[in-house]
């Protein structure tokens, strides 16, 4: 009966300052959102291969290539006490919520006043920031509409045949919101600070960059949440998070760098959990500049990276080198025999020798540990590249614009990471590296054959065709005309009290439901 208060020290609660899944695009927000919101189709998040499981829908079926019908769960209560119905679901995917209504777009345009304190308003409904619409469009490029069949049944209908529809329904960004709560909030910003979902915890207080206080949502359909009050506090410094855990102020800390794991594990009262997540670290090439024009140079670089050593030295073997830009949870689409370019310095040297390269500087643009171990990884790789005869220089940048910038100097090599929000290559390689993906949009790379395959992968419903297309795309982007190369799978580690039984998820969400959280009496 006496439920604990739990404090989680995080590096940041949400980067975008709003508790809206369509605004917060970094993987940071995923951590807290799973306590607030749920999707119709969920994953068994603590299992390694992330099998799908019913969420707010108890069952779903394909009606045709373009349609999926879902039966909603009975008695799901929102934080405001309302019961979830098909109307809420329809609303969640409505143009109004996405901010794509013509009057909303009009308002956004007329409200486009730099730095002024007037928020765009329309008479009925709110105006979400325009980037919400952009994100929604990217998440649902072909969604025609969501239809209410009856109070407890809805249909998702796509404009074109879409094999990824179930995946998209289960993805981050497809969480169901309360229609009434959204409509009652004065502005979108107000809503985004106190969103109403169906998750086990509801928002009590949110101060960006400081603290998010959640309270147990006792009407939660999945049973009473085990924690009375759940606080996420922002502690930007790693050392301070570790100090706070060891001094007993925090029950959980996130983003423990691999090198700190032993320190916490050595304390009997604390342990570290965590491991690989659905996010891969990449090194990205700009094929238009300097020596990078030569495909051999890029190939040489992909072969010169000692990924296993990096995983061993910097990650203590707590993550792994994946099979290219794909994850096991792709299921049928996973190409288990695919491999990243093998580490072979002789081959790499030979490639450099055979190439047109003659000593021009190759600039690696690096951010200051935006990604865990980013700087160390860059230094290790730079060392390897030097050994194959490349004149690489690390250039530290302060922000992403400087990373992408083409005016201050040639853009050649940069760091990135890719996730797959739903289990299909479309979520990763298509979304990020095809025509509409960032890499081509910023003009780093393009490849005709690859782009043709993109369309096939997106629209075909035939598994074998799709697998073949995906394989060829990997061949092109990772080996023939490297657009990027995968360095390793990312991993996240949590420090926590040893007497709490809790499992992390590869999806980066933190699950504090009753079946994943228990205080156990310590062994002694």
């Amino acid at each position: 009966q006496d439920r604990p208060h739990i404090t989680v020290a995080v590096q940041q609660i949400v980067n975008a300052g709003a508790l809206d899944v369509l605004r917060e695009q970094s993987n940071v927000g995923a951590r807290v959102f799973y306590s607030l919101f749920e999707t119709l189709i969920d994953y068994d998040r603590q299992l390694p291969d992330l099998p799908r499981k019913p969420g707010l829908a108890t069952s779903w079926k394909r009606i045709d290539d373009r349609t999926v019908e879902l039966t909603l769960r009975q008695g799901v209560k929102f934080h405001n006490g309302d019961t979830m119905t098909a109307d809420d679901v329809v609303f969640t995917f409505s143009p109004e919520r996405f901010g794509t209504l013509p009057e909303q777009i009009e308002a956004q345009k007329s409200g486009a006043q730099l730095f002024t304190s007037t928020v765009a308003q329309i008479t009925n409904g709110k105006v979400p920031p325009p980037e919400v619409a952009a994100v929604a469009r990217r998440a649902w490029p072909n969604l025609d509409r969501v239809e209410k069949v009856d109070d407890m049944t809805v249909r998702f209908i796509s404009e074109v045949p879409d094999p990824t529809l179930e995946g998209r329904i289960s993805r981050y960004g497809a969480e169901i919101l309360s229609k009434r709560a959204y409509e009652e909030a004065p502005t979108w910003a107000d809503y985004a600070r106190h969103p109403v979902g169906t998750g086990p915890y509801k928002v009590v207080e949110f101060k960006p960059d400081n603290v998010l206080v959640l309270a147990a949502h006792d009407d939660y359909w999945g049973g009473k949440p085990p924690i009375a009050e759940l606080r996420f506090v922002v502690v930007p410094e790693v050392a301070s998070r570790v100090n706070g855990l060891l001094s007993g102020e925090y029950d959980f800390i996130t983003d423990v760098p691999p090198d700190q794991i032993a320190l916490i594990d050595d304390e009997p009262k604390f342990d570290v959990v965590g491991g690989p997540i659905t996010n891969h670290r990449l090194m990205v090439f700009d094929k238009n500049n300097g020596p990078m024009k030569d495909v051999k140079v890029r190939q040489a670089m992909t072969h010169a990276i000692d990924r296993d050593s990096i995983v061993e030295a910097l990650w203590g073997n707590r993550t792994k080198v994946p099979a290219g830009l794909q994850w096991e949870y792709y299921g049928d689409m996973y190409l288990s025999d695919w491999k990243v370019p093998e580490y072979d310095m002789d081959l790499a040297r030979k490639l450099v020798k055979d190439s047109s390269y003659n000593g021009e500087p190759i600039i690696m643009r690096v951010l200051n540990n935006y990604y865990t171990n980013q700087v160390s990884t860059a230094q290790i790789n730079a060392e390897s590249f030097r050994q194959i005869g490349l004149n690489v220089q690390i250039e530290m940048k302060e922000n992403w614009q400087q990373i992408f910038d083409t005016e201050s100097g040639p853009r050649m090599v940069r760091d990135w990471s890719n996730s797959a929000p739903f289990p299909d290559p479309v979520a990763s390689i298509v979304n990020q590296h095809c025509q509409n993906g960032q890499q081509q949009q910023v003009g780093e790379w393009t490849n005709e054959e690859f782009n043709a395959l993109c369309i096939r992968l997106e629209t075909s419903t035939d598994l074998e065709t799709r697998r073949a297309a995906f394989r060829r795309m990997l061949e092109i982007a990772e080996r023939e005309d490297p657009a990027y190369t995968v360095l390793h799978q990312n991993a996240i580690f949590y420090g926590k009290r040893a007497d709490i039984a809790w499992e992390p998820s590869a999806l980066q969400s933190m699950d504090f439901r009753a079946d994943n959280f228990a205080i156990v009496k310590p062994a002694n």
Partner: protein, 311 residues
């Protein structure tokens, strides 16, 4: 008198406008708020939409004019990240910042001034050398090293104090002590030299010749005179009160203005940065003015006779 204030005010306004303009150009040209706020994995069209919404796609001078005309109309703008008025965002943080900076300043003075005086009175003795060495060390240890070490000792090992956060007053202790020690070191050095300067003045001898005991001479005659240079340095410190202490706030996860500044700069959240700069600028100017007045209060000679000019 009125003219003096008006001219001071004018200079302050121009100075602040200078700061804000410089910051505008710097922030606008050095990073893109869209990528910073939405993150590198957001779709490109989201960046476009964001930029269009905030007018970041306009020519820089248009943005600049818009920004300044807004300010002129008393509108300090919205945070691009939170969509809330930047002023609210900053003012929310000010009490928290003052909660640690004010006591720290007090601590600075309570430790620094007596230590400086003590050192000056024992010039070139072991006491002097010890105080000055400690004082120099106090401000040469990088503040994050000092903060982390203090946290390790008092929070992790001894568990006397919390290591970070802002829930109770106990949370304020370590940040205050960290800043207090560093500032005290600075004040001690200034006080010492001010005191030495004063002790060489003829009126100190007059005071002893009158029959005052040494400690009476110090307290009644040397201190008030030594206060002037010390005030100057304290004035500078007051000026930086609202800006808080970026590093200390980060180390102790204290949600002050300093940390807000860091995030806002990282996000290129212009309006927020500018409000903080305005706040800092005006506090500085205000502090300088107060120090000037205090000069007059401490030293009657400065109440009159500013530089004469030909008629």
């Amino acid at each position: 008198m009125m003219r003096y204030f008006l001219s001071r005010l004018l200079r302050a306004l121009v100075t602040v406008a200078l700061i804000v303009s410089a910051a505008f150009v710097v922030l606008r040209l050095s990073g893109d708020p869209a990528i910073a706020i939405l993150g590198p994995e957001a779709p490109p069209e989201a960046f476009e939409a964001f930029r269009a919404a905030w007018g970041l796609d306009q020519p820089l001078w248009v943005q600049y004019l818009r920004y300044f005309s807004a300010i002129a109309h008393g509108d300090l703008g919205l945070s691009m990240r939170d969509g809330r008025p930047a002023l609210d965002l900053v003012l929310e943080r000010v009490p928290d910042t003052l909660l640690i900076t004010l006591p720290a300043l007090l601590l600075n003075m309570l430790i620094g001034i007596p230590a400086g005086i003590w050192a000056a009175l024992h010039r070139n003795t072991v006491i002097d050398r010890a105080i000055m060495t400690v004082s120099v060390m106090g401000f040469t240890v990088p503040s994050f090293v000092m903060g982390l070490v203090l946290a390790l000792i008092f929070a992790v090992r001894l568990r006397w104090l919390p290591s970070g956060g802002s829930d109770t007053l106990w949370h304020a202790v370590l940040p205050i002590v960290t800043m207090g020690v560093i500032g005290a070191a600075v004040i001690a050095r200034f006080t010492r030299s001010a005191m030495l300067e004063t002790l060489g003045q003829p009126y100190i001898r007059t005071a002893s010749a009158k029959g005052l005991l040494w400690h009476q001479v110090i307290i009644r005659h040397a201190l008030p005179n030594a206060a002037i240079p010390t005030l100057t340095i304290i004035g500078f410190m007051v000026g930086s009160l609202v800006a808080g202490a970026v590093v200390v706030e980060s180390i102790f996860s204290w949600p002050g203005v300093g940390r807000l500044l860091v995030t806002a700069v990282a996000n290129r959240d212009l309006a927020v940065v500018q409000v903080i700069l305005l706040l800092i600028g005006f506090t500085m100017v205000g502090a300088n003015l107060v120090v000037d007045m205090a000069y007059g209060w401490v030293d009657p000679r400065l109440r009159t006779g500013r530089a004469a000019k030909p008629a």
